[in-house]
């Protein structure tokens, strides 16, 4: 039976399916109904993988919504991100994942198993949600955080808390600070938070950067610069959790 991994995140639900050569992936917004978004992701991935809709697949669910969905197996996002990142960047011994509502750092054994991990606490500071809120205030979209021209001066943002940072951003806009500089400052504060989390778990070696925020090249470069370590965001970085779930569900890892 084909193995499908579904990663039900706070913002997006991701699906992954192994077609014998590579992973086919799909993404759909989670919205307010994680159960439905998961069902949608399974249907989408079946279509993409040319599996007739009435054929059964074995589903392994992960992500914060994993328990609301009737999957064949449930595995936490820590273990799945580790397995997915290990598949995508086999040399990496450290995974940095910045998603919609939390961020985490995982250190890996050479075979991709979790050696240790740490998550941010009870708060969306330093995550995709933080950037999304700020984008709303700046009248721009998340995409605008990606194309910041080189040489833009960085406006430091001192508040890590979403609520305080909002007031700070409003103040800066009122002072006429250019939007790009503020965007860069916000990315820098997310990067700094990630670096702090990294330093508590792993000190050296390549980093595989996953989650929705891994698509932001500026953020990746900032983390690389701050740590002096190679930070790789593979093309399928956002799907690492779903890929890991499919790998674990299919017993491709550790033979279980």
């Amino acid at each position: 039976m084909p193995n499908v991994g579904v990663d039900i995140g706070s913002t997006a639900t991701k699906g992954a399916l192994w077609n014998g050569r590579s992973f086919i992936c799909c993404i759909t917004p989670t919205g307010w109904a994680p159960r439905e978004s998961a069902a949608r992701a399974v249907a989408q991935i079946k279509r993409r993988g040319r599996i007739p809709h009435d054929h059964d697949v074995r589903v392994t669910a992960t992500g914060y919504g994993r328990n609301v969905f009737s999957a064949d197996r449930r595995v936490t996002e820590i273990t799945c991100h580790a397995a997915g990142a290990h598949y995508l960047v086999p040399t990496a011994r450290t995974v940095l994942d910045i998603g919609g509502q939390d961020s985490k750092v995982i250190s890996l054994y050479p075979d991709g198993r979790v050696a240790d991990f740490m998550m941010n606490d009870k708060c969306a500071a330093g995550t995709g949600r933080f950037l999304q809120n700020m984008a709303a205030h700046l009248g721009c979209t998340l995409a605008d955080f990606c194309g910041i021209p080189e040489g833009t001066p960085l406006q430091p943002i001192s508040s890590m808390c979403t609520v305080f940072a909002e007031s700070e951003v409003i103040g800066l806009l009122a002072r006429g600070v250019p939007k790009e500089s503020i965007c860069l400052g916000l990315l820098d504060s997310v990067a700094q938070r990630a670096v702090n989390l990294l330093s508590r778990i792993s000190e050296s070696g390549d980093i595989c950067f996953t989650g929705g925020c891994a698509q932001n090249e500026t953020l990746r470069a900032l983390i690389e610069k701050k740590t002096g370590r190679r930070v790789t965001s593979p093309k399928l970085a956002q799907y690492a959790g779903a890929i890991g779930a499919a790998i674990i569900g299919g017993g491709m890892q550790r033979g279980d």
């Binding site: 449930r74 595995v75 936490t76 820590i78 198993r113 979790v114 998550m119 009870k122």
Partner: protein, 383 residues
Amino acid sequence: MNDIDEIFEEMREGVRNAPVAVKELKEAGRPIVGTYCTFTPWELINAAGGIAVSLCSTSEKPISAAEKHLPRNLCPLIKSSYGFALTDTCPYFHFCDMVVGETTCDGKKKMYELLDALRPTHVMQLPQTTEHTKSLELWKYEIIRLKEVLEERFDVRITDEKLSASIALRNSINAAALRFYNLSTLPDAVVTGKEIMLVSDYLKFTFDYEKAIASVNALTDRLLENYMEGKRRVNVATHRILITGCPMGKSLEKVVEAIEAPECASTVVGFENCGNLKCAHYKVSEDIPPIDALSEKYLSIPCSVMSPNKERIKLLRHYIKKYRADGVAEVILQACHTYNVESYSVRTVLAGDGAQYIAVETDYSQGDVGQLATRLGAFAEML
């Protein structure tokens, strides 16, 4: 319901009825002394003819009321304790004649200063090291001072005979507790973590001490018998987790529930916490003068306020081995600086031993049950 579940249900009922029991004891003229901490020598209170009772401190409900006087970024245990007193919603506080506290952490000792306005509060000055003989001398002086305070307030004389008798009684209570906890030395788990918490509570809140000892011993016997018959009550194909850290209580059952949820496939086999192994493991000597014996036992409690706190590592290692723990989960309350800082040393030492360790920081709200499930679930997947 089988007979073992019935015994547990009776214990639950006993804990539920504890406020009525305290009310009746109060009406019968018994002195009621409220306590918060494992450092309080209950033996002295019993020897004064009094009832020592653990005051409410583990619910989120009175915290907002406490924040009228206390800062927000203070540990929930301290805020909850004070809030219960301030709103008069803890039946035990309501009935108590006085409170005994100790200078453990900074937050607590300053809170006790405020608490004194609500109920007479005697604070024992706790030395924070066991490394100098002067510490023991000072602590012995504090034990004698508490004895004198109790004698004066309740107009009794605490003789050595009375004290020795109450030491023997409390040793029997702790022995019954330890015998029950030590069911976890068996290869398969016998009880769940929530049941261990229940038995600790039952022993704390049953004031007919002989009855409490007999019930717990009977429960342990019955569980052993059941086990020897080859019956297993708890899913045996699970990881065995030892809990450590801040005092556990009602609001922190969420941690035990997350560990024992089916997705996590784990069972809590012991609690190296206050009111549990931290207390029951250390016996009061019955071979030396009673005041000396009390001083020695209570100063040896490995609370994170002690510096250095080498004894805690010894106790942890002892029970990791004894209970064959696959992993150690440390529960840290937000703003509990001493446990939070000590967490790094515990992690480092246990990593050196090859033991798996996770620390979770939480408070009394139920808002983080999802995050706890993920963290503890991932920890179980690592084992």
